[in-house]
């Protein structure tokens, strides 16, 4: 099954870059979104603590 799924014949030079570009796009969106959320949450929490103290 895996061999069949991965064998794309003479069009491999177009098909795998297309899958690669999609994977890169998704990876960027996930990493950037999580990093952004983490950074701003930490900053907001630290300012909140600073305000309380």
């Amino acid at each position: 099954m895996i061999d069949h799924a991965l064998s794309v014949g003479k069009y491999a030079a177009f098909i795998w870059p297309a899958y690669g570009a999609s994977a890169v796009g998704f990876a960027w969106m996930i990493v950037d979104t999580l990093a952004r959320a983490r950074r701003w949450r930490r900053k907001a929490d630290s300012l909140e603590k600073h305000k309380e103290s």
């Binding site: 014949g9 003479k10 570009a21 796009g25 959320a37």
Partner: protein, 240 residues
């Protein structure tokens, strides 16, 4: 439901569990859809390049969905002056740009072996999707170029609303003009033109991309809410 979620505290409580659930469901659907798609037989015309369809078409669908979300959020922000709607608009633009970029790149990689050309400037579908990509970039650039965040948001939201006209142009471009791009084959009157062996994985990846987009959008809105809270607290600390 929208009225309830318009409250930032309720939105944060809802999105805290909704975003990971949507993300996991989306990843599962994309994985299963791609597995079925990669094991589908070669198309009689496209050969193995039909496998690009399972990542290209969902990216194109989601890029249009993202712009509709941008337009809707911009409308609510402009008309009702709702801060969460503005945060939603700001959060969706980069996602829309990436999904549109994926649709353009994968479309070019399909077009080269099938049409003999990476790009055709005379094709209305291709050019209207490129305009969509530029609208996302324009929205982000306009917001970033104006120092006053509120004024930048208003200007960008007007641009987003004007750009909504491009959505029906993209959708009907293959009917209104003679294009190299093939006509509607999934959501059309009389049913899909695709064989189930291609339609099933396409619908699965389409649903998976949509859920993944929803998860990422919710997570980015949460980040934007925290950014605004941090900015507001920093400003108060500076003035104190």
């Amino acid at each position: 439901m929208f009225a309830a979620l318009a409250n930032p505290a309720r939105f944060m409580a809802f999105s805290r569990w909704a975003a990971p659930i949507l993300g996991v469901l989306g990843a599962g659907l994309v994985g299963y859809g791609l597995w079925l798609g990669l094991n589908a037989p070669p198309d009689y015309q496209q050969g193995e390049t039909v496998k690009i369809m399972f990542i290209h078409v969902p990216a194109a669908w989601v890029s249009m969905m993202a712009y509709a979300c941008l337009g809707g959020a911009s409308f609510f922000s402009l008309v009702f002056r709702h801060a969460l709607a503005d945060a939603a608009a700001r959060a969706v633009a980069p996602l829309g740009a990436i999904f549109t970029g994926i649709a353009l790149v994968t479309g070019m990689l399909w077009g080269r072996p099938m049409w003999g050309a990476w790009w055709v400037w005379g094709d209305a579908r291709l050019v209207s999707v490129l305009v969509l990509f530029l609208l996302f970039l324009g929205y982000m650039a306009l917001r970033a170029s104006i120092d006053d965040e509120a004024k930048g948001a208003r200007a960008a939201e007007i641009l987003a609303l004007v750009g909504l006209i491009n959505l029906p142009i993209i959708k009907y471009s293959v009917e209104w003009w003679n294009t190299l791009h093939q006509g509607e084959s999934v959501m059309r009157a009389g049913g899909s033109a695709l064989a189930p062996v291609y339609l099933t994985p396409l619908l699965l990846t389409g649903a998976g991309y949509s859920l993944a987009f929803g998860a990422l959008w919710l997570a980015r809105i949460r980040a934007e809410v925290w950014r605004r809270r941090a900015t507001s607290l920093a400003l108060r600390a500076a003035l104190a």
